[in-house]
């Protein structure tokens, strides 16, 4: 069988102890809330349902489809789980998945598991559910469209958080890691979005009762819309800000005592991730992002071709 480890599973050694502990604290607080909420909603039925659903996410990650040049798209599942199971349940399910990936397959570390759960389980569920819940009662097309955007954004949010943690640990440089991670994951996120939309559309057709009014997934409060919306907005706003203006983020970090010394890059491929002739504008950063995506895509296709030729 094959696994597709994504750059979101941080191994041990790449995050500092301080960042690992902070992430564990956030994860533990959120997770204990999630466990008590799901326990109240499901009672003793919780364990078989969540256990099998966690195994489902694990198995569903094996379903892939060829994209181009030997690369394939596949599912991470956080957003889909949140939409069909509700946000709290999805958090518990994704935690179990991340824990087994780390414990059994060493896909992700143990000390950094708190960060991995936060990036791949908690944030993805909050965004996926929050945005989907915002369009409750709308037409099916709108719901599916928003679900796709939510799935894509959930992957991007995970990638952004991972980059920030790596940067705060002094493992990567902010101006490089954010565009690189977001570039790669904007493609991975497309696969996630397509599969999520198709799977949801299939479930709505065959078992509308699972997603209709009164179902588990419709019970989440409107607070989720705010939470998901805020995180999604943070991703959209922070990405150009962080990659186009790292000084701002570094300023905050220095004020808070994160960074020992200023770090400046003695090289630049696209200076400060803006294109000189467009000036220091958001448009310029977005264009730089698009170019980054195209370059990364081209590299992936070339590598894929090469591997195919060898095989």
């Amino acid at each position: 069988m094959h696994f597709s480890p994504t750059p979101l599973h941080i191994p041990d050694g790449f995050l500092s102890v301080a960042i690992s502990v902070v992430c564990w604290v956030i994860t533990i607080v959120t997770l204990s809330l999630a466990i008590s909420k799901t326990n109240k909603a499901l009672g003793e039925k919780q364990i078989p349902l969540m256990g099998v659903m966690a195994a489902f996410i694990f198995a569903a990650q094996m379903i892939n489809f060829p994209v181009a040049g030997g690369t394939s798209g596949h599912l991470l599942g956080g957003a889909l789980a949140a939409i069909v199971l509700g946000p709290w349940a999805a958090m518990v399910v994704m935690t179990a998945v991340v824990a087994v990936q780390a414990l059994l397959f060493q896909d992700g570390g143990l000390l950094v598991m708190g960060a991995n759960i936060l990036n791949m389980g908690l944030v993805t569920a909050a965004i996926g559910y929050g945005l989907y819940r915002a369009v409750a009662g709308q037409s099916k097309a709108v719901k599916l469209g928003v679900a796709g955007i939510a799935a894509w954004l959930s992957v991007m949010a995970g990638a952004l958080l991972t980059s920030l943690q790596l940067w705060l640990s002094g493992t990567s440089q902010l101006g490089i890691v954010i565009p690189a991670m977001l570039g790669v994951h904007s493609l991975i996120g497309l696969g996630e979005a397509f599969i999520t939309v198709a799977a949801l559309s299939f479930i709505i057709q065959t078992r509308p009762d699972l997603l209709g009014e009164g179902s588990e997934s419709a019970k989440g409060g409107r607070g989720w819309v705010v939470a998901g919306g805020v995180i999604a907005l943070a991703v959209v706003l922070l990405s150009p800000f962080a990659s186009g203006n790292p000084d701002g983020l570094e300023r905050v970090a220095i004020d808070m005592g994160f960074i020992d010394s200023g770090q400046s890059a003695p090289y630049s491929i696209i200076p400060d991730y803006t294109l000189p002739f467009l000036g220091e504008t958001a448009l310029s950063t977005i264009m730089a992002g698009v170019i980054g995506v195209i370059v990364v895509g081209a590299v992936i296709v070339l590598i894929g071709r090469g591997m195919k030729a060898k095989a």
Partner: protein, 263 residues
């Protein structure tokens, strides 16, 4: 597929295999935390930690190189840390051209990069050893003793129990797709990317419904057998004097590694 098809456990009668799972899980975590706490460039301490790891390998009867062979899994992630080679100010070691820019490797950057890789490499090996000498259900049970909420450990146990069932299910789905995706020689099978994504999505939806309905059946079967929200085990873990000695000894060694790393 067999129910423990995914367990990385290796059947042996070694000292490490007989140790209480709690001790093994706890010491693995302490070892990983210790690695993370070691400062950059603490070479002697890294060597000591590596010797400790090899001693553990030896006591597992799996052979000294066992975890080394399987430690390649964490390697691709090293790419993420490459930027520290150039970004930390220091004495230039090596300068080269990369596309249109000039990259300079500094000594401080090199030190940090190698330290990150060593920490990661030592940690992943100990985690590999842990699952090689502990049955996964025992490991889950040990986590429960180490105060991980019982609900979470039970869900993980269920995930493990039904993983092979659903992997079988997904294998059938994948095989069905394969067998319906015939193509004449030289021609590509199937439609465009969107069409293929839709097929994959339908498979995921199908798998979801089958899993959801299966969990209902499992719940009903458990209810009819007297399930009331708690699982019992026939395999209670007991700490023996030996387990305490090993714990004390290993913590002392890791403490010494920390002291060595600071001087």
């Amino acid at each position: 597929m067999h129910f423990d098809a995914f367990d990385r456990y290796h059947e042996k009668e070694s000292f490490l295999h007989r140790l209480d799972p709690r001790v093994k899980a706890l010491l693995t975590i302490i070892f990983i935390v210790s690695n993370a706490l070691l400062p950059d460039g603490a070479w002697l301490a890294f060597v000591c930690a590596w010797l400790f790891l090899n001693a553990a390998n030896l006591f597992s009867q799996l052979g000294i190189g066992y975890t080394f062979k399987r430690s390649i899994v964490a390697l691709p992630f090293a790419l993420i840390a490459v930027t520290v080679l150039f970004s930390i100010p220091g004495k230039p070691l090596y300068t080269f051209q990369f596309f249109m820019s000039t990259l300079t490797v500094t000594d401080a950057g090199f030190l940090r990069f190698v330290s990150i890789l060593i920490r990661s490499w030592l940690s992943v090996q100990m985690a590999i050893l842990l699952v090689a000498v502990t049955r996964f259900p025992d490991l889950i049970h040990a986590l429960e003793h180490l105060k991980v909420p019982a609900i979470l450990t039970t869900i993980i146990a269920f995930l493990y129990r039904y993983l092979f069932v659903l992997i079988d299910e997904v294998s059938r789905l994948l095989r069905a797709r394969e067998s319906r995706s015939g193509a004449a020689a030289g021609n590509r099978s199937g439609g465009g990317v969107f069409w293929r994504a839709k097929v994959a999505g339908n498979m995921a939806g199908q798998l979801f419904l089958r899993s959801y309905e299966r969990s209902d059946r499992i719940y009903n079967a458990m209810m009819s057998r007297g399930y009331s929200g708690h699982l019992y085990t026939l395999n209670p873990h007991e700490m023996k004097p030996r387990d305490y000695y090993v714990t004390a000894f290993a913590i002392a060694v890791i403490f010494i590694v920390q002291v060595v790393g600071r001087f």
